[in-house]
Subunit: 584 residues, 2 copies
């Protein structure tokens, strides 16, 4: 038996108990005649003490132990003279009488501490050492807890967890699939699922009513920051439901998680914004509503004052920063530089300072007299002491810029509380997005999303105007998930494919099985999926999903620890009826 | 709102309640002035009644509904005159006052009944209809329950559920990997995991102590009956443990499942057999111990009687079938034919009938006098009335034949109770298997399995004699899982790779990351994995894992519902730097 207790459980109640512990040497201190070792395992840290006077051989042996050695010790739980109230085991130490080295360790390439000296590349290569750090362990423990609570919630709400296949079929809609060559069907390929979408719809057609799964999904993207080729989804589908039923179930899940994991009780219904409202008020379909400072449209009142920039643009809008009227020239310049950065690309920033004494100072004083500035200020309900920041230009891009500016001001004004969770629903998305390059419509959500019944006629006349029965949940400015009511009628699904530019043959080839299924009694149904990695990162207060994934890949899709992807032997390629095409 | 209740919950307590139900038309009967419809959903069946006299329009509308139409009805819960005590809803029916057809259905290609008229191929093509059958639903509900109970058990035992990656690296040891071409790393491939083996070991090295996961694994095999290219594993690893700790945890899991799912309490420790004992007593390393009739070795006493067949062979053994001495010539011939089938391939069967009157009759009377036959009978503890069945030949193959014969007799004698669960551990497997074709040793379990410490020296002198710290759990003759204590020492792991014929370069190339990890304080660790599909099938009393998988593939690895694998477009191939090799 390697241990009687873990390194996290012994305390003052265990005094004078003889125990055996196993773990890693976290650190070691030699103080005169004593050697102290912090022994670490998953559960905590326990201090070991070796005494040169009473057992010099053992103490000498202990002094030879390096960091990260794996040891087993027997000893007596004794009360510490120098207690550490911050640690659960801080009142005791183990007076060791036997030491067994289970494994040695070379010096780790970086320190096993929360504030480590290892860079990301090094930590990824030695991920098994990186994962020893307390903060990493906390992330994975949190992830485990959240997974269990998610399942508990769904199971208690009569959902069935059903596994859908990983080896499926490639479909060109959406992101690029990873494919898997089939040895037994030469020249043919499976694909890895980007989501279990069609299978969960088939489960509804099969009558399973309430399905959920925490499931790996795959997307072969040109990696952007903080995307992973494999990611985990909380996936769900329900039959005989309307949008309201699904919102209510997932709102319930988030409330359950906030309560169980964070101890936060939200009684009220989550706020709801239409896509349009979100864009107009926040310039963003995933607004951070932890603070206000919403956007205001001043297009109509700002035009016609002889300021050419305003007169020539589609949209003029801004935000009002409470109590910032005394911002310096330098501060305003910084904001201007911020929105002019290439990532944002705005042309310029107009300000109106509404001084405490009731006077105005603005970068457009030349065109706007005090009365005109006052009218502007009224649009924002500004009061003396406030600062109004204005951007003008093409509407959608200006809204985006204002969103960035609002978030930047939120950060500057310390409005963004990391311990607050502000979820909301964004509803009524457009069904389709026009792609100017390919000159065709794409599904904004996916091709199975139902148009709102009252908009179906528009599909023939003005598809861009059709709204979808689709919804996203946003928390603190992060889109954590989204879903829709699905089409369950074969003709409507065919029409949708046609609108998306599928020929009948293509639609049949790729989704024939689903359209066939619609022929045999498909119930009304809908669902939603949440990004589990993202949700865990949000709960962990971490910016990157890599920090909540045990073995993530880097931005080029490589696992640098195992050095994958890698070459495969020629005979395997041959068995798969494949050749590497060196030309491309 | 599509429904106020499900089709499984209304009973006599709900009389005179106005309700709305939605579901599928299971069957419909017109009886004079009434039409009765069984409305089905996931939760049950509720009888709807339409009356031609009181509402002829509605009744006519109901008479037009076909099987599997999806409908919504409003009506009043009324007491049935003709109650059906077998159904939870059998005391009531719904007097319908409104009927809404949500979707029509073509006539399904087979009947949606447990005893369906659809063949397997047809049912697989229309799996979404097959899954509507009650028996299929029961399987998936059971699977869901078992998954939840497994997790509950592990979580309550301080295990962490940690997701390991699906896109990993190909390794030639073991079965063939499925591979995934990397677009961003031209000519390179990921592989899909046959198990999370190396990752769970790295988690132990990272200090996670107790890991589990219910996880998809992949194996590109030439499909044998009842194998699937993707399958699900209950995977587990523990640090600072010995074999006994792991056996105890997994024995606990099986006991938990039997109790929670089947209401069966097993108090005793599961029986244990060494691999050798299992082979000697049952001819099989996965014995069905629901009944006895064990094998007996009679080599030493059966030789030297002048019977050439016996005198020339390595091994002579048999079983004793209680009370079967009066088996007819025909019955014995059937058994002889059974063991001579090509799948088994034995040469012949010798019998000794120990008649109730104490006399013997045997097919080897010519060589064995009554005293000699009696001595044989004593080996088996046979009593008057018993039948002894004997096979002779090369030892391993004869043991296998006897195992088949034992199981066949078990079936004939009705010893195999499907409601009994007889788990056991098989221990002390050989570490290595000699492959005569490749003239090298293969790991019987996998290359990370630890030899028993007392056998390590034999690795150099007589590797075939080395025993492993490995164990299998067997229930009712089915190997449900197995595992081992792992090597955690870099030198021993290197020696193991060498014994398996890896060059140092190959070992480094494929498992360098693991051997590196062993350098930084690897704790003693071990684990186990259970085949979840197999375990569910066992609990469901079903012979095939296909019946407990929502969307399985057929024996050629095809999903015939979605028609996958399939061709992919040339541009995708090109992006992946691949060409189809038509020559091979």
């Amino acid at each position: 038996m390697y241990r009687t207790h873990t390194c996290g459980e012994l305390n003052i109640k265990n005094i004078n108990t003889s125990v055996t512990l196993s773990g890693w040497v976290q650190r070691s201190r030699d103080l005169g005649g004593m050697t102290f070792i912090d022994l670490r395992d998953r559960y905590g840290i326990t201090q070991l003490v070796f005494n040169m006077e009473t057992n010099s051989n053992l103490c000498k042996k202990a002094r030879k132990l390096g960091r990260e050695y794996v040891i087993q010790v027997e000893g007596m739980v004794t009360e510490r003279s120098n207690k550490n109230p911050k640690m659960p085991t801080g009142e005791i130490e183990i007076t060791v009488n036997n030491l067994n080295v289970l494994n040695s360790s070379e010096l780790p390439p970086f320190t096993i501490e929360d504030e480590t000296d290892g860079g990301e590349e090094l930590r990824m290569k030695y991920r098994y050492l990186d994962l020893r750090r307390y903060c990493m362990k906390e992330s994975l423990v949190l992830r485990n807890m959240m997974a269990q609570e998610v399942r508990k919630y769904f199971v208690s709400n009569d959902f069935l967890e059903i596994e859908t296949p990983v080896l499926i079929k490639s479909t060109p809609e959406g992101a690029r699939d990873f494919v898997v060559p089939s040895r037994m069907n030469a020249g043919q390929f499976y694909a890895l699922p980007q989501s279990p979408q069609t299978f969960k719809q088939l489960l509804m057609i099969a009558g399973y009513d309430r399905y959920f799964q925490i499931v790996k999904c795959f997307r072969d993207e040109d990696f952007r920051a903080d995307r992973q080729p494999e990611f985990t989804q909380i996936d769900c589908e329900m039959a005989f439901v309307e949008q309201e039923d699904i919102l209510s179930v997932f709102e319930g899940m988030v409330k359950h998680l906030l309560k169980e994991i964070k101890g936060i009780n939200i009684e009220d219904r989550f706020p709801r914004l239409t896509y349009r409202e979100a864009m107009e008020k926040y310039g963003n379909d995933k607004p951070d509503i932890r603070f206000g400072m919403t956007l205001h449209d001043m297009t109509s009142i700002a035009k016609g004052k002889g300021f050419n920039v305003f007169d020539s643009v589609e949209y003029i809008g801004g935000i009002c920063a409470d109590g910032c009227s005394e911002y310096s020239r330098k501060q305003i310049d910084e904001l201007t530089d911020f929105i002019k950065r290439p990532q944002i690309g705005a042309k310029g920033l107009v300000y109106i300072k509404y001084h405490s004494d009731g006077t105005f100072k603005s970068s457009i004083d030349k065109f706007f007299n005090p009365d005109a500035l006052k009218s502007c200020a009224e649009v924002f309900n500004a009061k003396p002491g406030d600062l109004i920041l204005i951007i003008a230009g093409e509407k959608e891009s200006t809204l985006n810029t204002l969103s960035e500016l609002r978030l930047e001001m939120g950060r500057k004004m310390d409005f963004i509380n990391p311990n607050t969770y502000a979820p909301l629903w964004v509803l009524d998305f457009p069904l389709l997005e026009w792609d100017e390059e390919e000159k065709r419509f794409f599904a904004m959500h996916h091709p199975f999303t139902s148009p709102r019944p009252e908009d179906i006629e528009l599909l023939d006349t003005d598809p861009g105007k059709v709204h979808a029965n689709a919804y996203d949940m946003v928390i603190n400015g992060v889109e954590v998930g989204g879903g829709s009511i699905r089409i369950h009628n074969q003709e409507l699904q065919q029409k949708m494919f046609k609108t998306l530019g599928f020929t009948e043959e293509e639609a049949n080839d790729q989704f024939g099985f689903l359209m066939n299924a619609f022929r045999y009694g498909a119930p009304p149904h809908g669902g939603i999926a949440f990004g589990f990695d993202r949700l865990v990162a949000l709960f962990a207060g971490l910016g990157s999903i890599r920090d909540v994934i045990a073995f993530p890949k880097n931005n080029s899709g490589r696992d640098i620890m195992i050095d994958s992807p890698a070459n495969i032997p020629d005979n395997l390629l041959k068995e798969l009826s494949l050749k590497i095409n060196r030309e491309s």
